[in-house]
Amino acid sequence: MPLILKQYHLNMLTEIIIFALFAVSYNLLLGYAGLLSFGHAMFFGLGAFMTAVAIIHIPGLALWNAILIGVVTTIIAGFVIGSLLLRHKGAYFALLTLAFNALFYAVATKWHSVTGGDDGLSITRPDLSLGFTSISMASLTHFYYLTLIIVGAAIVFCWYFTHTAMGKTVLLMRENEERMKFLGYNTNISRLLLFTFTGAVAGLAGSFYTLHFQFVSISAISVDMTTAVLLMAFVGGTKTFWGPILGAFVYIILQNYLSNITDRWPLFMGFIFVSMVLFIPGGLSEVIMNIRQRLFGKKDNNGGKSAASEEV
């Protein structure tokens, strides 16, 4: 594909893949577990900053290790924060995640010596060492392929995850948490595992975000970033696995297109999203499913209530 695409489009495609992973990880919380988090950007931003900080402070750091440091840090952060949150659901969970996100944002803003504060951090992508040879990551095409393989694999694993024991436990808990307890499931531990997992996946996306732009600013860890991922999930639809991927695609393209023609692009983005949430709350995936249903007369045996549970 890179052969026929311009660099500009390749750039955008890489960005879409990274945000698709971020949105997918977010939807595992929102669509599958029914947990509305307003703090998912803290993991995305933490992964992004840790990768940047590691590359700046450890000379000759391998690309793999830079990514690994980002992901491992988010695993630890997800576990610690998750332990504090796991007893809470609904509005309390949403508000607590928002508070934690604000805390992370404040640290990123104030801890100037490490995070660069408002100035952000610039890095140079390390080359990819494969032992016998080294691939230059200065090339956009090379980095695109790396993103496609690693981030793509992570998306595929998330899809696989929804069919595993743990993935189904999450769905069953949304359906009937009380009964799960009486069937021997520790639902607090389940929530903690899911929270840590989705945090780590968001961290991986964040790490690639830094590598892609070779720059990270406090916007990566801001509540705006949480809003962005929330919108991607909503625009695409939270009831299917692929909805948020579609959402990321539409969001990034719209953002790029609108920001090219007007400086007031956030206003138009806002209009589009408000009308989407008002008129098609099920997102684009619902529209597509409805069209498919009409064309092929496929019956929706869930009454359209929850396509995610269909996959149990």
């Binding site: 743990m166 009937n176 997992f197």
Partner: protein, 247 residues
């Protein structure tokens, strides 16, 4: 030898309202024990305490010599104790198969695995099908729970209760709301599926009680009035006055 299950002086207050005031009875292994009593006597509260939903205000529950009072439900389930609910409490949007699968895979330790798919495990799937067959739901195996008739939902409720292979089964009014014919079928099925296990059952329907239980405890205003064989309970003057006589 200590008793299999010993409910010791259980008290339960709900912010001042004394629901249970010293419940005391014993259940032998493999016994089929019914707890009867008028509405509001505290039967379901007692079940909620034994199964870990509530903590008792005071008292102890000895299960094979170990105090299990106040332990969370998932721990009790893993010790071999499983309960059904009076108001059907299943996974409404899921198929019968997936409802039973939830419990069976828990018993096989496949609760939080990040890589294994539970429906790919042959032992687990065979066990799920066997339980569905036992409770007579084979013909609706792939239908979602919310599409089943009331009687079949109740059967599914019992199937889920059985799915973690419990040795002690607590059934909370399993035939509530059923027609006479459905009730007779349910009694037969319950007798079959709980064979060789210890059963504690709450029931209003005396016919169900006398055809299932070999020991009966009468709960009256928060305490056990008497605990004995069905014949003796039938002829007990206190029970007649307090409960049976009314009907």
């Amino acid at each position: 030898m200590s008793d299999y299950l010993h409910i010791q002086n259980i008290h339960k207050d709900f912010s001042g309202l004394k629901v249970l005031t010293g419940v005391e009875f014993k259940v032998k292994e493999k016994e089929r024990h019914a707890v009867i009593g008028p509405n509001g006597a505290g039967k379901t509260t007692l079940f909620n305490i034994i199964s870990g939903k509530f903590k008792p205000s005071s008292g102890a529950i000895l299960f094979k010599g170990q105090d299990i009072s106040g332990k969370p439900p998932h721990v009790l389930n893993r010790l071999g104790l499983s309960r059904s609910f009076q108001i059907t409490n299943v996974f409404q949007e899921l198929s019968v198969f997936n409802n039973i699968l939830a419990g069976v895979r828990s018993h096989y330790g496949l609760r939080y695995h990040f890589f294994k798919k539970p429906d790919r495990d042959r032992n687990i799937c065979e066990r799920v099908e066997a339980i569905i067959d036992e409770v007579g739901l084979m013909d609706v195996k792939d239908q979602p729970a919310n599409s089943l008739s009331y009687g079949k939902q109740r059967a599914l409720e019992i199937g889920i209760t059985l799915s973690t292979e419990p040795e002690l089964i607590l059934l909370d009014e399993p035939t509530a709301g059923m027609t006479r014919e459905e009730t007779n079928q349910a009694i037969k099925m319950i007798n079959q599926v709980t064979a060789g296990r210890t059963l504690i059952i709450i029931e209003h329907d005396m016919e169900v009680v006398f055809s299932l239980a070999n020991t009966i405890s009468v709960l009256h205003y928060g305490t056990i009035l008497v605990s004995d064989t069905p014949e003796k309970i039938r002829n007990d003057q206190r029970v007649k006055d307090a409960y049976l006589g009314e009907g």
